[in-house]
């Protein structure tokens, strides 16, 4: 007898994605090792840059990076820095990222590109979709599942935003993996049966340090630390600021507000930074409008500039070692991850701190994506000899009396992790209890990051203190919080209404799924109407403003009447769906207001001339 092997259904491929601040990559598991999937242009890196073109299409990656100079107002980069954040906590980022922030950015940033507005998860979703398409083209099969990496130090909102981005791109995110942990997987460090490893990861916008214990294929993270606002971007911005000042004194012209020139200069300082990783000196060169700026930059000067940034990474390293309960002597190996670790000064600092020669055999730009592919193969059951045990980077707490935080899950707890708290009512007949959950290490709520407010509803009216509602806080393997509640006496599940402090609701994510956005985009006529209305808005606003000026009252009665008539006619067609009619009426209004505009112009010129005489 023999068994007939009908063969298992072919396992669907799960890709690993590194959604980076500067570059993003997609990788898959090969027969023996993970490999990076390049884009159609052959580049393994897809720059994390998106341009929203006037016709509704998007440029992603290298073409978008080129468009930074030609379409600076329609292009956005380093969007990872905005993930899971609100307007109040991106003051730092605003200085670095020249994007226009739209209304309603309190809990989710609204990025204005041209006439349209996008949230960071949608921009990230557009990048993810490109990676998905690259993978599908390369592998010749549909890709719907992915492992996506996040900085280990990302909080709940930042993780949720990343997961939302996946969904928006049409990907089922099987797991969010911490970047340093993924890097450890890629290095195959489990080949040394036992040991303590430090992973130092300085990317474009984030810094992570993780300390792991390896034993028999288990990668147990002992502690993690970092800074989600520290990376190569900061070096670029520093160099850019210095160069702008230098140009201002040399040319007598401040280019800060000139987006095109700034982007050209940004490119020049990045090139210089890269060059200084291998050369002792280089030139920062800007050629702009027939003028040429060139300044020599030596590695010594560069080192002096970036030293504060390097030093900022060392404190989290020491803290992580203390949290892990290990001393420098016990660290067996150090792994360097992230493009910024190419800076020689930084390598020296890391080597000095850990007293170990760091690993950098794998390309620091690619190692995280390769590790994500390894984790993808673990999740799809192809590899069973390895297992990641990761931790939550931040303590979880709830608000108590007087704005204090009561900690319920400590940072560096292995996830999944849970905690149970019992709540009751304060007044008779109270039917709901509000719970405020925060993340962070400080003692006051105001110093921690608000995560969400949970409303326990439908409590049966009873005397104060009688209901006993058991609330379970569970951090899942992605580092994302889940909450459930039960009335202790009845054992009944209690309904919990969640109001996340930052981020999108489920329905909002649903509405942002790119396919549905695209279908709307396909409706060309509708888009033309929308765009024409924006133009009409601009024109009408300008006319309304002109009507407030003295010049308006200087114009003859019949002319004012014809302007008002043209304005009314535009308003009538404005809400219709014929974009050509709106255009005709805009042009008519333009025509009717021409003498008025000239009068305003003349009086402005006269005032200016008068001003010079005095």
């Amino acid at each position: 007898m023999f068994a007939i092997d009908f063969g298992k259904p072919k396992n669907e491929v799960v890709v690993g994605i590194d959604l980076g601040t500067t570059n993003s990559l997609v990788a898959a598991m090969g027969p023996s090792a993970p490999f990076i999937i390049p884009g159609p242009d052959g580049d393994p890196l897809v720059p994390s840059v998106v341009t929203a073109l006037p016709n509704g299409d998007f440029l992603v990656g290298n073409p978008a990076r080129r468009a930074l100079v030609t379409h600076p107002r329609r292009t956005v980069y380093s969007v990872k820095r905005l993930m899971g954040r609100g307007a109040a906590d991106i003051a730092e980022e605003r200085k670095l990222l020249p994007f226009k922030m739209g209304e309603g950015s309190e809990s989710v940033i609204q990025i204005e590109l041209g006439t349209r507005t996008f949230t960071p998860p949608v921009i990230s979703g557009i990048i993810l979709r490109r990676l998905k398409q690259n993978a599908e083209e390369h592998l010749g099969e549909p890709v719907t599942k992915a492992v996506i990496t996040v900085p280990a130090y990302f909080n709940d909102a930042q993780r949720q935003a990343t997961k939302d981005a996946g969904r928006i791109a049409g990907l089922e995110v099987l797991r969010l993996v911490n970047e340093p942990t993924a890097a450890a997987l890629a290095y195959g460090l489990d080949k040394r049966k036992e040991g303590i490893v430090a992973v130092y990861d300085l990317g474009g916008g984030t810094f992570d340090i993780s300390i792991l214990r390896l034993q028999d294929g288990i990668f147990e993270v002992l502690a993690t630390g970092g800074d989600t606002r520290l990376g190569g971007d900061d070096i670029d911005n520093l160099l850019l600021r210095v160069a702008l000042e230098d140009i201002a004194s040399e040319w007598g012209e401040d280019l800060t507000k000139n987006l095109e020139a700034v982007q050209l200069l940004r490119r020049a300082v990045i090139e210089a930074k890269h060059a200084l990783s291998v050369l002792p000196r280089t030139n920062v060169v800007l050629e702009y409008r027939d003028r040429r700026y060139a300044r020599e930059l030596t590695r010594d000067v560069f080192n002096r500039l970036v030293l504060p940034i390097v030093e900022r990474t060392l404190a989290p390293c020491r803290q992580a070692m203390a949290d892990a309960g290990v001393t420098t002597g016990q660290i067996d190996e150090v792994v360097l991850v992230g493009g910024s670790t190419r800076v020689p000064l930084l390598r020296e600092a890391v080597e000095r701190l850990f007293r170990a020669k760091p690993h950098c055999e794998l390309n620091p730009d690619q190692v995280v994506a390769l590790g994500a592919a390894v984790q993808a193969s673990i999740l799809s059951g192809q590899q069973t000899d390895k297992l990641l045990l990761d931790v939550t980077p931040l303590s979880l707490g709830i608000e108590t009396m007087g704005g204090l935080v009561s900690r319920i899950i400590q940072r560096n707890s292995t996830i999944p992790a849970s905690a149970t708290e019992t709540f009751t009512t304060a007044v008779e007949g109270q039917t709901n209890v509000l719970i405020h959950v925060v993340q962070g290490e400080r003692e006051m709520v105001k110093d921690c990051r608000s995560l969400a407010r949970f409303d326990l509803k439908g409590i049966a009216p009873m005397p104060a203190g009688m209901p006993r509602i058991e609330v379970r806080f569970l951090i899942d393997a992605n580092g994302i919080l889940q909450v459930s509640a039960r009335e202790q006496r009845t054992g009944l599940e209690q309904s919990v209404e969640v109001k996340p402090s930052y981020g999108l609701s489920d329905e909002q994510v649903e509405a942002m799924i790119l396919e549905s956005i695209e279908r709307a985009e396909d409706d060309f006529a509708e888009r033309q109407v929308r765009e024409m209305r924006v133009e009409a808005d601009n024109v009408m606003q300008a006319v309304e403003k002109a009507k407030q000026s003295d010049a308006w009252f200087e114009r003859p009665e019949d002319e004012r009447e014809s302007v008002n008539r043209a304005l009314n006619e535009l308003l009538v067609v404005y809400h219709g769906d014929d974009h050509t009619l709106i255009r005709v009426k805009i042009e008519a209004l333009d025509e009717a207001t021409r003498p008025l505009a000239e009068t305003i112009m003349n009086s402005a010129v006269n005032t200016a001339l008068k001003g010079t005489k005095i």
């Binding site: 288990i218 297992l387 045990l389 999944p416 569970l474």
Partner: protein, 174 residues
């Protein structure tokens, strides 16, 4: 007691760290959600719950003080309920001395006090080990009371040691 059951252990106050770690790894291999991502949703949920329990259990049981507090609370003795009263009167003099040294930023005196308290901590740990063994041999509520007292004393001293170390560290850095 769930935490002990989760790791397949009898409820004992004295545990072997190596054995505990091995049990933790073995059960993680078996139950971690990574092992269930191609399984039906219900199985994934079970894996998540099981792993959370295993992790909570290991985190609590690997630390002798947290372990003892867990056993106390499972036996209806909240460690914190007694904390205020159990602050040891015989330590008063040394505590005052340390506080003064901390206030005056007298590094040498802080270091001396730190040494004193560190050896006291070792002493309490030794005492606890004996109490653990006693309870393990014949568990009874009466044998938990002294564990609670020793635990509160330990916590008090551990806090002093932590503060003194922190002061010395910041002094060294500045």
């Amino acid at each position: 007691m769930r935490y002990y059951e989760a790791l397949g252990l009898e409820p004992r106050l004295a545990l072997d760290a190596g054995d505990l770690q091995k049990r933790f790894y073995d059960r993680s291999r078996q139950w971690h959600p990574d092992r269930f991502s191609t399984r039906p949703a219900a199985e994934q949920r079970t894996a998540l719950e099981m792993t959370a329990l295993i992790n909570d259990a290991f985190r609590t049981l690997r630390d002798p003080a947290a372990r003892a507090e867990y056993v106390l609370s499972e036996n209806g003795l909240e460690a914190s309920a007694q904390r205020g009263k159990d602050v040891p009167a015989d330590l008063l003099e040394e505590v005052l001395e340390l506080n003064m040294a901390l206030e005056e930023a007298d590094g040498a005196q802080v270091a001396r006090s730190l040494g004193q308290f560190e050896s006291m901590l070792a002493g309490v740990d030794g005492q606890l080990a004996g109490l653990f063994a006693a309870w393990d041999a014949a568990p009874s509520a009466g044998r938990l009371e002294p564990v609670r007292a020793a635990l509160n004393r330990r916590k008090y001293i551990a806090n002093l040691v932590r503060d003194a170390r922190k002061t010395l560290e910041t002094a060294r850095e500045t």
